[in-house]
């Protein structure tokens, strides 16, 4: 697998960054993901994913302002880069084209409410 490939967790984190921009930082992302998936997501896990994404060049970061609940510490804010955006689009196209090619009724029926 190439290093620039996007893991599943990385993909959702990257999407969350896109959703939360300009206030995308690990706590917000973790909260968001917890809400969306209903599972506990640690900031540590998010942090690690963000580090990897940054290394791959899909996000860029800079230090934001300090707040009181952080004990006066600054937070690191993330933005999706062009490469990240391209990656997200590619992934989405792959998925869409695959969805589109699923023949009707070939998936078992489930109730979606």
């Amino acid at each position: 697998m190439r290093r620039s490939d996007l893991g599943e967790f990385e993909e959702v984190v990257l999407l969350s960054v896109a959703v939360l921009t300009p206030m995308a930082y690990s706590v917000a992302i973790a909260e968001e993901l917890e809400q969306q998936t209903g599972k506990t997501v640690t900031t540590g896990a998010v942090h690690a994913a963000l580090q990897r994404l940054e290394k791959k060049g899909y996000v860029s970061s800079e230090m934001g302002e300090a707040t009181q609940e952080r004990g006066g510490r600054r937070k690191r804010l993330f933005k999706v880069t062009v490469a990240g955006s391209r990656m997200l689009h590619t992934v989405r196209e792959v998925r869409n084209s695959l969805w589109d090619r699923i023949a009707p009724h070939s998936l078992p029926q489930i109730n979606i409410n």
Binding site: V27, H47, A48, E69, G71
Partner: protein, 883 residues
């Protein structure tokens, strides 16, 4: 998330925070901690404190990952370490190449110091390895004797001997049976060591050789690791007629060592021995030296020759035994056998065998001091000389630091941390040390042969020992570190803004530190110099002092074979031969008389409980004439008085100690011989000047089977005299090869130790002064460079060359003077202590110190003024043109 400011937030648990602080990479800590805290407060609001705290732990643990923990990554681009080292190396080499004069001074000084250090180190190592090669070494102990009589305590390596029913035996004979911890027991007595020693004659067929050897018990080869190359070591010395010989001796008489086994060899023309073993030539590491070993029983049973009373007893104790316990047991065993009424009380002690070489002096009857003192002194000297060399380096580096400081400033501005700077400076000095080490190894190889002759050793560079190279590397690092430490820590602490603005000045502390170093350096040099001068003067003194007799042109041969029976004929014939002035005899060589007795000597009016230790000597009628002795009272021996064969002479000291008035005509007895005192001899030295003159009692005996024949040769005709001696000896004593000694040379040998020490310390003191002057030269050069504008201005304003030189030298001379003031009393203390070891010493005159001080001052002045004059003579235009 807005939080009401009134209610202070309750902080998250501390413990995980601490953990994180410890492990988290510093540049990530802020955001990580921030995230954790923010999330925690969110959770407190959402699910309550309990839940939040629980989850907090999990959150923290989620950060324990390689990408977060310390040292994994950094914001800053990090150059690879090797690049840095390469850059340091290039810088150091450039610096060394740019300042050629300073670099030469540095490297030369350091390499001289290191050569000195290595030489002394090799010497100490060699001294310490003496007798250390025995595989049972740690269980081998010498027995020494402490005897008390008349309130006097004496000690020595000797074992009490008794006579009974015509048999001579030592009191420790059956020690092995009585003290079970003693596994092996050996007696050792040398035939050749002073005072009575001499090489002994061996003969096989036509081949006759004189060799030096000893006697030993049958356990000898089981205890000591002298490799036996032929024959059975366990039984080698069992039989009374057995003898073990060295490879060298075997090859002298036989084709090969194997062939020697079982062969018969004639000893001193009195006995035939069977060769039972051949051992490898005794190595230089052994303090016992012998080419043959004769069976102990034979030695003790011998009645015709003088067997040495000095018996060295060595035991090997059981692995598990405690030496102190064994010592007590041996003493208990001994006391039961001693005569309770004997006024001389004897106790025995144990000393580890391997210690006997270094610790062989006895103080208060216990072994204490000896060569170990020289080992310690030279060890100190080695360290001091190395420090002196390091100081050069430090001084030059700090003096030049104004120049170097700019480099430091730039490096700091460019982002170098203090640690890197320290590493750089230390690395630089290690590089210099490395170059010096290479140079000093070359020097060492060149100097070692000369050093070996000086010190009387056979030291080689231990090139094959990895430990040696490891040691060298250690020395290099240590020296490099010490030498580089001050510049490294001082320069790296400078503030870049100050340096680059050009306002950097030496602080007073730095200047004082540098001055202090110079004082220390010269102090040590002066100390060594004074010590050297005193040691060589004392050595000179003992060799040239008038001993009370004329020791020039005296040859002596040992009385052996027919020389006693045909003494009269020998004397008669020889006296008529060319080159011979006079011939006479003595029972002991007059320059090193070691035999002292008290009980057998009695005299008229001797009080009870008075004990005087006499040196007894029996001589021929012409002894006083041949020795050129002075008589202070009465007359000397003469053939014209028939009673003179029973007459005695004593010296002045003896008279004083005996406590008699009007001695002439009083009776004296020695053993069973009784006679009258006919004259008093002026005191003359009968031993080395280490000991005071002892009471002497002289009588005439021209028929003793032992002793020496002394031959006074005519001045300048030694060659003819030796030819004559050889001819007469061959005539009268054909069975013994001629062996003769020159008395003056033998006398000098008594001071072999002091001579070696004196020559060694000469060399080292010279080196120390040289190194110190190198340092001074460097400082003077630096100072001239720095003050070049000042000198230019002074010259333009009309200063004379001499005033500039004075100005220049004054500072340095003050320092040297100060170091003299400090070093002189310390030197006096040590030198005085050393001189106490001689009964006759030179006066420690004040001018010895003054002369040393002036000498050092003169050398320092010479060093500095060369630079000063150069600076003073330079054209001021050159100095002032720029700027």
């Amino acid at each position: 998330m807005p939080v009401s400011p009134k209610k202070p937030l309750e902080p998250p648990p501390r413990w995980p925070n601490k953990l994180l602080r410890r492990f988290c990479a510093p540049h990530l800590l802020e955001e990580v901690m921030g995230d954790l805290h923010e999330r925690y407060y969110l959770r407190v609001q959402k699910v309550g404190k309990m839940q939040a705290r629980k989850k907090y732990w999990r959150e923290v643990m989620a950060y324990m990952r390689l990408s977060v923990v310390k040292g994994q990554s950094s914001h800053f681009a990090k150059p690879i370490l090797t690049d840095m080292i390469k850059s340091y190396l290039v810088f150091s080499i450039r610096k060394i190449a740019r300042n050629k004069a300073f670099s030469v001074i540095n490297i030369l000084g350091l390499s001289l110091g290191m050569t000195c250090f290595l030489l002394i180190f090799l010497w100490i190592n060699d001294e310490r390895s003496k007798d250390n090669f025995h595989s049972n070494g740690k269980n081998l102990y010498n027995i020494y004797q402490t005897s008390k009589s008349n309130g006097q305590v004496n000690g020595g390596y000797t074992t009490p001997v008794r006579f009974k029913n015509g048999r001579r035996y030592t009191l420790l004979e059956d020690l092995k049976e009585a003290v079970p911890e003693v596994e092996y027991l050996n007696f050792y007595a040398t035939g050749y060591e002073l005072p009575w020693g001499h090489p002994e004659t061996f003969q096989v067929g036509e081949k006759i050789h004189k060799l030096e050897g000893s006697r030993a018990g049958e356990d000898f080869f089981s205890m000591f690791s002298y490799p036996v190359i032929a024959g059975n070591p366990l039984t080698a010395l069992k039989d009374i007629s057995s003898v073990a010989i060295s490879r060298k001796m075997a090859e002298m008489f036989f084709e090969s060592p194997e062939e020697a086994i079982g062969k018969s060899i004639r000893y001193e023309n009195v006995a035939d021995f069977v060769i039972t073993a051949v051992f490898e030539n005794v190595s230089v590491q052994s303090s016992l030296k012998f080419d043959y070993l004769i069976n102990w029983e034979y030695h003790m049973g011998r009645s015709d020759g003088w067997a040495s009373h000095a018996i060295l007893t060595t035991i090997q104790i059981a692995e598990s035994a405690d030496a102190k316990n064994v010592e007590n047991n041996i003493n208990r065993f001994l006391q039961a056998r001693l005569d309770k009424d004997d006024p001389v009380k004897i106790e025995l002690g144990l000393q580890r065998f391997s210690d006997q070489y270094l610790i062989s002096n006895f103080i208060n009857g216990k072994p204490q001091g000896g060569r170990i003192e020289y080992v310690k002194i030279f060890g100190l000297v080695a360290i001091f000389v190395l420090i002196v060399a390091c100081i050069n380096f430090m001084n030059l580096a700090t003096a030049r630091s104004v120049k170097q400081a700019k480099e430091v400033g730039v490096r700091k501005v460019a982002g170098s941390s203090r640690g890197y700077l320290i590493a750089q400076f230390i690395g630089e000095s290690v590089l210099t040390t490395f170059l010096s080490l290479v140079l000093s190894t070359v020097l060492l190889l060149l100097l070692l042969p000369g050093f070996n002759t000086l010190a009387g050793k056979q030291i080689t560079l231990p090139i094959n020992e990895p430990l040696y190279w490891l040691g060298l590397a250690g020395l290099m690092l240590a020296t490099g570190f010490i030498a580089g430490s001050y510049p490294a820590f001082f320069l790296s602490s400078l503030r870049p803004a100050q340096i680059l603005k050009g306002t950097m000045r030496f602080t007073n502390t730095a200047i004082w530190f540098r001055k202090g170093l110079v004082v220390f350096q010269f102090g040590i040099s002066i100390l060594l110099l004074i010590a050297t001068i005193v040691v060589s003067w004392q050595t000179d003194f003992v060799q040239n002092t008038h001993l009370g007799y004329d020791r020039e042109n005296l040859i002596y041969v040992r009385i052996e074979g027919e020389l006693n029976n045909k003494y009269a004929a020998f004397k008669d014939q020889l006296t008529k031969m060319p080159g011979i002035a006079m011939v006479d005899r003595s029972s002991e060589a007059p320059h090193a008389m070691g035999f002292v007795v008290d009980n057998p000597i009695n005299w008229e009016g001797k009080e009870e409980n008075v004990s005087v230790g006499f040196k007894p000597v029996s001589v021929g009628f012409d002894f006083l004439k041949i020795m050129n002795l002075e008589i202070v009272d009465g007359r000397g021996f003469s053939r014209e008085y028939a009673t003179d064969t029973a007459a005695f002479m004593v010296n002045e000291i003896a008279l004083k100690q005996m406590g008699i008035q009007d001695p002439i005509g009083k009776w004296v007895s020695a053993w069973d011989k009784k006679g009258h005192i006919i004259g008093i001899l002026k005191d003359y030295h009968t031993h080395s000047l280490h000991e005071p003159i002892k009471p002497l009692i002289v009588d005439v005996k021209e028929d003793l089977y032992f002793g020496i024949i002394m031959i006074r040769t005519e001045a300048g005709k030694t060659k003819e005299a030796l030819a004559s001696l050889e001819k007469v000896c061959k005539d009268i004593n054909p069975d013994y090869p001629l062996a003769y000694q020159f008395l003056d040379q033998e006398y000098e040998k008594l001071y072999r130790n002091e001579q070696a020490i004196s020559q060694l310390s000469n060399a080292f003191a010279g080196l120390a002064v040289m190194i110190s002057c190198l340092g001074l030269l460097g400082l003077a050069m630096f100072s001239a460079e720095q003050r070049i504008k000042e000198i230019g201005i002074r010259k333009v304003l009309g200063a004379s060359v001499s005033s500039i030189v004075t100005l220049f030298s004054k500072d340095f001379l003050q320092l040297v003077s100060l170091s003299f003031v400090i070093a002189a009393p310390i030197a006096w203390f040590f030198v005085n202590k050393w001189l106490q070891g001689f009964a006759y010493q030179i006066d420690l005159a004040w001018w010895i110190f003054a002369a040393t001080g002036l000498l050092t001052l003169f050398i320092a002045l010479l060093t500095v003024s060369v630079q000063a004059i150069k600076a003073a003579l330079s054209n001021p235009v050159n100095a002032l043109r720029t700027e």
